[in-house]
Amino acid sequence: MNIVVLVKQVPDTWSERRLRADDSTLDRDAADAVINELDDYAIEEGLRLQEAHGGEVTIVSMGPQKAADAIRKALSMGADKAVHVTDEALRGSDGLVTSAVLASVLGRTGFDLVILGSESTDARMGTLAAMLAERLGVPQMSFASKVETDGSKITIHRQADYGYDTVEGALPAVVSVVEKINEPRYPSFKGIMAAKKKPVETLSLADLGMDASQAGLAASATQVVSFANRPPRAAGTIVTDEGDGGAKAAEFLASRKFI
């Protein structure tokens, strides 16, 4: 099975993240870069499916030069090869542009199954799976907490607040996964050593037959026009117990709809 896992490099959730003052895009120098957390689960699922069904796992990532680190980590976890789309003109691309670029890459690599995290921890749009499925004309199987396939058909548990739906579709398909799906492995030293010998193809927009006018901030359908920092946390409410503390606390909770 030809499995493609989409990986995005994002600023570490645990570090302080900022937008740039000049164009409201992500300040990539301000924070440590890591693999988008949900993509770790996507990689793990890709590797498990490969272990069960054979075939190859290809990592595809669009991002700056530095995203090569994320790709290297994905390869050290066990993926076979990678494609890195990097081009200065891509900076500021929104979901729509990203999906066009990635769809173009997937047209080159071919695929039976595309797996990605259900959202990134930086933009948190969560729309890429849908956009890609639409562009590629294949089923969209989103928020999967379980994936099963026989090589021609795919069944997932689509995670919801009330439980899960069992959804079935035909391959090829695009699957987005949630963190309930598995426990991502840590790379072994053998995997780390092997990763540097694995092929990584680097593509520019021109290699994909696209030009700069089709990408980046200017070509994006959405742009961040302004932003504000989260306000500092307000002081808590102090309830003084004058014999009616319990009632007051309950009242407070009720006013916040906790009870």
């Binding site: 290297r72 050290s76 840590y186 030293f189 053998k190 780390i192 050593m193 990763a195 540097k196």
Partner: protein, 388 residues
């Protein structure tokens, strides 16, 4: 040019183990420690990521790494917890390494694959209730050949990983004969569950409370003659290199603990306020942390040097002893200072620095006390013991 910069792969491994320690070990280890439980789940996951296979070749399922990368993993684990680090250390350098180094093809094929994957653990029995580094002179455990079986009698003390539910074999040193009154010492492998091999209850330890440490008794315990590991009469000599290497591993573990103290204090100094200011704004705190960072740095350089010599095939006995002495001193000093910075919380078991404080002491004792390290260094410098 001398350089102690990690190469790309070493740095990737270091970061991976750091993430594992923070993500998998840190959230649960406090509870295990409180209860004195062996962290089976963590050990399984360490096995899956290949940590038990680091210094072994792929032929046995290993990672084709070397002793330096193994020590690097110990260092990163010990920044978060020493119990899991010592479980790995003992599992590899005391458990699997002697089998890899001295075992027959049959012994290696039988025992190594599971040990290298961390699915099973092996232990090494040298120390006895009556003696540690003064073995072989003080050894009491004996093994006599009776037909095609060894009959083992005696006991061993403080044996790490000897009584877990995944322990497969313990290699015990025993006296197998005497020539001119001098004991002939051999290494004999005793599989877990062998009749007459009695595994005692876990010790109640001051630190390393999640590691499995037990007293073992052998009472007419019979194993096949083929369980001899390496050459008969060479048991102690074979083990000497294991001891020297093990000192570097313990040094790396100690340096990790010393660094863990710095990590914790930096976090706490930024969070905690006292007398109206952040703790980290007081020079008294800053100087303490600066001293701790300096000790952790020097400790790291000391074991890097010893491990680099080992890997390069150069003599490393002196450097290993210096590293063990230096790193365990740094661990003790930093643990003391870290608990002081944490104040009352530093005395509470639920805080990592309290665990560090309890775990640091044994580093001056295990795998050769600090006094033994000084003896080794002095001998290497050509100083001889005088009369009396």
């Amino acid at each position: 040019m001398v350089s102690f910069t990690l190469n790309e792969e070493q740095e990737a491994l270091r970061r991976t183990v750091e993430e594992f320690a923070k993500g998998v070990v840190a959230p649960v280890i406090g509870r295990h420690y409180e209860r004195g439980e062996f962290p089976y789940e963590i050990v399984t996951r360490m096995g899956k990521m290949g940590l038990f296979g680091l210094p072994f070749p792929a032929e046995y399922g290993g990672m084709d790494g070397d002793y330096f990368t193994f020590c690097l993993a110990l260092h990163e684990l010990a920044r978060v917890d020493s119990s899991v680090a010592i479980t790995l250390e003992a599992g590899v350098s005391l458990g699997a390494m002697p089998i890899y180094r001295f075992g027959s093809a049959e012994q290696k094929n039988r025992w190594l694959p599971e040990l290298v994957l961390g699915e099973r653990l092996a232990a090494f029995g040298l120390t006895e209730p009556g003696g540690g580094s003064d073995i072989p002179g003080g050894m009491r455990t004996t093994a006599q050949l009776d037909g095609d079986e060894w009959v083992i009698s005696g006991s061993k003390a403080f044996i790490t990983n000897s009584g877990t539910s995944i322990t497969s074999v313990v290699t015990a040193l025993a006296i197998t004969g005497r020539t001119d009154g001098r004991p002939e010492i051999s290494a004999i492998m005793v599989p877990s569950g062998t009749p007459g091999f009695i595994v005692g209850p876990e010790y109640s330890k001051v630190g390393w409370r999640c590691s499995d440490t037990r007293e073992l008794a052998f009472s007419g315990c019979r194993v096949p003659a083929a369980n001899l590991l390496g050459e008969r009469g060479r048991g102690y000599a074979q083990f000497l290199q294991t001891l020297d290497e093990g000192r570097i591993a313990i040094a790396a573990l100690a340096a990790g603990l010393a660094q863990g103290c710095v990590d914790e204090c930096l976090r706490y100094a930024a969070e905690r306020t006292a007398f109206g200011h952040q703790l980290g704004h007081y020079q008294a705190t800053q100087f303490k942390i600066a001293d701790m960072a300096a000790r952790a740095h020097l400790a790291r350089l000391a074991w890097y040097d010893a491990a680099a010599r080992l890997v390069a095939g150069q003599p490393f006995k002196t450097e290993a002893a210096i590293a063990k002495l230096t790193c365990s001193n740094a661990a003790m000093d930093n643990a003391r200072d870290a608990t002081q910075i944490f104040g009352g919380y530093g005395f509470m078991n639920e805080f990592p620095v309290a665990r560090f404080y309890r775990d640091a002491k044994v580093l001056e004792i295990g795998e050769g006390t600090s006094e033994v390290q000084r003896m080794v260094i002095a001998r290497q410098l050509g100083l001889r013991a005088g009369p009396g």
